[in-house]
């Protein structure tokens, strides 16, 4: 069979099979005739020969059917081979577009890549925190059980006391295991460079609840919990690497924690296991006695039994709670037992910001897609001639559609691959910008599930974006483009309409993105620039935890801090130095009860609990706290006692109805205890700082003396210039005083703020980047469409100018289109945003979700951008010479 025959067989199937049937019949006829002839030659009569021949030949119909089947199979396989071959050719051809029209190909791929990048990053983060927060087996069975004291307000963690835990453990039927832990911290003191690490004291069922086993050694056994048992410790994989270089002989080694106990390492936990947040050590929780029931300092968590629902667990624990409360009426407050899922609980503060970022990323992906659609459409129109020519030369429609689709696939694949690569880089960049140490369970690795979904999306988008040009091929729009220009103009106008619609969608999307971004940025800036005194950006602070093993007496820690402050104050480059329990003036390190003779007469609220700071005198001079009345603390000599207190305006009003506090006495306790009597020496203004978390509540300040001295706090130095330059001095001074202290890196106030507001910081940072790209995509989109429509109307403008239209009128006419698109897009975008803001308002700490400034800025900005993007092509077209255009005819 020659090539021509093969070709005909392929594309004219019906004819082929018909012809084939005739061929076979002809062959059988010939065969029969020849056979009869042969039999006659052997001496048979004509009649006998025919009968004999029929018998010999057998079932010709069956044979013909078999031949047909052979042919059909052959045809199918030949066709498949041919299609595969043509697909390969189309791929080669499609790759060529990167050479032929690189700008289009690169723009199209980049558009998709931008969209995919943000989705990759946000989805991975979302997946790791909200969708699959805890990397444990059947993590959705993990719950936290706790009480909430109605008097204590809504703290984040729900806590429980050990006696409660024992009752719950004994009484419940809903948990497979129930465990308890207490927060703690240790200094590992037998290292060259002692480190302070977070720890947990955990009960025996701890590893059973989480279904984890150490990678090295063993978990705790009931023996470890017996009174008098040897002290044992489980260490994290991270600290094993950092402190001991991953030494495999760590098992059985005794390590020194807090200078005294020698703890035997019995196991190393798996990598990234830092349950529940950033813990590095776990030791058995072995209370000598249950302790007071009212002291809820512990966290209880458990694993639901198979088949037990959260509601069932809640119902039973609620009953147990009521029972326990009835048996112990001495415990005050409404102590309701609650059960919540652990994973969602841990990541709850991140849920809303992440969802918002994800939604915004989806909007940007839509934006990118509409841009891509625009690009594809313009290319399809531009290529109409090429495709028509090929159609005229005999290429079938199927073939052309296949080619257009494959081209779209190549661009989508390029965009997808780029997007995923950028996404991975973006994740790294994002993690580098998180100023705190994230819990070990947040690893942000691109996982196969996300990757598969993204690949699916890329293929789908290839299909959708290939569809428009492919449909154009199908509808037979091709023939027309070889004909006159008038036809092209009218079909072009239809295209302009579709494309303008796409631009309106883009402006709509970008409006939403920009308003949301603007709100978050504003909230971020408000939190970030919180004024903590005029000198705040010249401060460097070092947290110091002395440790009760080395400084058992209050006198010794007081002496340390006094001496440190004194030395720092006199060190070169330092203007001043002081001690404080908390550097940030809007967040204290602790709260305490305070009452006055007036408050105790109120039986409802005999005392109040408020934030307090313990500070050395330098604190007030440099942190911008404004004194309303009285004085600040004075320098005291060693061993001198002081009963001075400085209260805030709000506290003064709460302690005394007339608000006159200066010189009056009150008690630094929950009841009028003469031991804790203090005298107000100064009153400070309520809001010396623009707090990032609402108005400052009542607060008081205590001087650093023996009674108030604690084993930890911040040493702060104020620099004459760059605070970072003081870091070595700060460190050496402290090291000189005590070489065994575990020191973390010193922080500037800006860094502390960033750490505290890290969610807003990262949130704003990510949204800012997304916003910039969204804007870029929109500018490209608007510019492209206006330029395209202007080129399409070249002929029309030429005529209009020949008839006397001016430069200005042409420009205005073009820009009017831009303005209309912008108007519709912005109006609809704002309408949707106003509704969506209800969702956003919950997480914006300092921003009013209806802040008119943001809206006005976004509107003005977008209108400017749209007009600029349409002005440039308008100017170009208005400069053409009408004679040139008319001559083209």
């Amino acid at each position: 069979m020659n090539a021509g025959e093969k070709w005909r067989m392929l594309f004219r199937r019906e004819d082929t099979t018909g012809q084939l049937a005739r061929n076979i019949d002809a062959e059988f006829d010939t065969h029969f005739d020849m056979l009869v002839e042969q039999l006659r030659d052997e001496g048979l009569s004509e009649e006998d020969a025919r009968t004999r021949a029929e018998a010999l030949i057998g079932n010709t119909e069956l044979a013909a059917r078999k031949c047909e089947r052979t042919d059909r199979n052959w045809l199918l396989s030949e066709r498949a081979g041919h299609v595969l071959g043509s697909i390969a050719a189309d791929f080669r051809y499609a790759l060529n577009i990167f050479r032929i029209s690189p700008l289009f190909a690169i723009m199209a791929s980049l558009c998709l890549a931008v969209g995919i990048t943000f989705i990759t990053v946000t989805w991975t983060v979302l997946d790791d925190t909200i969708i699959h927060p805890l990397p444990f087996e059947d993590a959705d069975e993990l719950v936290m059980v706790g009480t909430r004291d109605s008097r204590m307000g809504d703290g984040h963690w729900m806590s429980s006391s050990y006696p409660d835990f024992l009752d719950w453990e004994a009484g419940n039927h809903v948990f497979e295991h129930l465990a308890i832990f207490v927060w703690g911290a240790f200094t590992i003191t037998d290292l060259d460079d002692p480190v302070r690490v977070a720890s947990n004291e955990v009960s025996a069922a701890f590893t059973d609840v989480l279904a984890v086993t150490p990678v090295l050694g063993r978990s705790f056994t009931p023996d470890d919990y017996r009174p008098g048992a040897e002290s044992v410790v489980l260490i994290s994989h991270g600290i094993w690497q950092r402190a001991w270089g991953g030494d495999p002989d760590i098992l059985g080694r005794r390590i020194t924690l807090n200078g005294v106990n020698r703890y035997q390492v019995v196991g190393v936990m798996p990598p990234h296991f830092t349950f529940p947040d950033n813990r590095d050590l776990w030791i058995p929780f072995r209370p000598a006695e249950p302790g007071p029931r009212g002291l809820a300092r512990h966290i209880t968590f458990g694993r639901l039994r198979d088949g037990v629902s959260l509601d069932a667990a809640r119902a039973e624990m609620h009953q147990i709670g009521i029972q326990v409360a009835a048996e112990h009426p001495e415990i005050e407050g409404r102590r309701e037992v609650r059960v919540v899922r652990f994973g969602p609980f841990l990541t709850d503060p991140l849920r809303q910001p992440l969802l918002i970022i994800f939604i915004v990323a989806c909007l940007v992906l839509l934006l990118a897609c509409s841009n891509l659609a625009n690009l594809m459409l313009s290319r399809a129109t531009g290529r109409a001639r090429e495709l028509s020519l090929r159609a005229v030369l005999g290429a079938g429609r199927g073939r052309l559609i296949q080619q257009v689709m494959i081209e779209s696939l190549v661009i989508a694949l390029a965009g997808g691959v780029l997007g995923i690569v950028f996404g991975r880089l973006g994740l790294k960049l994002l993690l580098a910008h998180v100023p705190i140490e994230l819990p070990g369970f947040m690893q942000f690795e691109l996982n196969p599930g996300v990757l598969a979904a993204l690949s699916g999306f890329v293929l789908l988008s290839a299909f959708i974006f290939g569809l428009a040009p492919a449909l154009a091929v199908r509808r037979g729009a091709l023939g027309s483009s070889l004909r006159s220009d008038t036809v092209r103009m009218s079909s072009g106008r239809k295209h302009v309409l579709i494309r303008s619609g796409l631009v309106v969608v883009q402006i709509f999307l970008v409006t939403i993105v920009l308003v949301v971004t603007g709100m978050v940025m504003k909230s971020y800036l408000a939190g970030h620039t919180a004024r903590l005194g005029g000198e705040n950006n010249r401060l460097l602070a070092q947290y110091v935890s002395l440790g009760s093993w080395a400084y058992p007496e209050q006198e010794s820690s007081l002496a340390f801090f006094r001496e440190a402050v004194e030395k720092l104050r006199n060190s070169p480059g330092a203007e001043d130095a002081w001690y404080t329990t908390s550097v940030l003036s809007d967040r204290a390190d602790g709260s305490a009860g305070i009452c006055s003779d007036e408050t105790v007469r109120n039986s409802e609220r005999p005392y109040l609990v408020c934030d307090f700071w313990t500070v050395s005198p330098g604190y007030f001079a440099s942190t911008g706290v404004s004194l309303l009345a009285g004085r600040t603390f004075t320098e005291l000599s060693e061993g001198e006692r002081s009963n001075a207190i400085i209260v805030s305006e709000a506290l003064a009003r709460r302690l005394w109805a007339d608000g006159e506090a200066l010189g009056r006495s009150c008690y630094r306790s929950r009841e009028p205890d003469p031991e804790h009597i203090v005298t107000v020496v100064g009153v400070i203004a309520d809001e010396p700082f623009s707090s990032s978390e609402g108005a400052a509540g009542p607060r008081f300040y205590l001087p650093l003396v023996r009674d108030t001295s604690r084993g930890y706090g911040w040493l702060v130095v104020q620099s004459g210039g760059e605070p970072r330059d003081l870091a070595p001095v700060l460190r050496e001074t402290i090291r000189d005083l005590d070489p065994h202290l575990a020191l973390t890196a010193p922080r500037t106030v800006a860094e502390l703020l960033r750490e505290r507001n890290w969610r807003t910081v990262v949130f704003a940072w990510v949204l800012g980047v997304i916003g910039i790209f969204a804007l870029l995509l929109t500018v490209v989109g608007i510019g492209g469409v206006v330029a395209y429509s202007v080129t399409n109307r070249r002929h029309e403008f030429g005529i209009r100018m020949a008839l006397g239209a001016t430069f200005g009128s042409i420009t205005r006419s073009v820009m009017r289109r831009g303005a209309i698109m912008a108007g519709i897009g912005i109006a609809t975008g704002l309408a949707v945003t106003l509704v969506a803001m209800r969702f956003l308002s919950g997480i914006l700490e300092n921003a009013d979700p209806h802040d008119p400034v943001i809206y006005v800025l976004v509107i003005a900005f977008l209108i400017t951008v749209t007009l600029l993007a349409s002005w440039m092509p308008a100017r170009r077209i208005a400069r053409i010479d009408p004679v040139d255009v008319l001559r083209e005819e």
Binding site: H31, L56, A63
Partner: protein, 116 residues
């Protein structure tokens, strides 16, 4: 006379056709049947209709070519000729066939007492 037809082993007819054509001569269907018959001492007689699907398969596999020509007896008939690929396929089929029949013989020659 044993008729090898649709009930026969798969591929027997193809092997016979290729063998008959392996001399390089082009033959029509009836001539092939006659050649098989003559060369087997008239023991093997291909069912005439069954020959054509086999010829067709060989043709589609590219092992034969076919061409309509006028025969010696002035009749228009389709003549088949083996291709180089057909020669190779024949060599392979013969090797397999030989191995197959040898194995069959070995089994069939077992004496009854050896089976106990």
């Amino acid at each position: 006379m044993t008729l090898i037809g649709n009930r026969g082993f798969y591929g027997e007819i193809e092997i016979l056709v290729l063998k008959i054509l392996s001399g390089g001569e082009s033959m029509h269907g009836l001539a092939i049947i006659n050649a098989v018959s003559e060369n087997s001492g008239e023991y093997l007689q291909i069912e005439h209709a069954a020959l054509y699907p086999a010829l067709h398969r060989l043709h589609r596999k590219g092992l034969l070519t076919g061409e309509w020509r006028i025969s010696d007896k002035k009749r228009r008939a389709k003549f088949y000729q083996i291709t180089p690929a057909g020669q190779k396929a024949l060599a392979r089929a013969l090797a397999e066939w030989t191995a197959h029949t040898r194995a069959m013989e070995q089994v069939l020659e077992i004496q009854p007492e050896d089976l106990q």
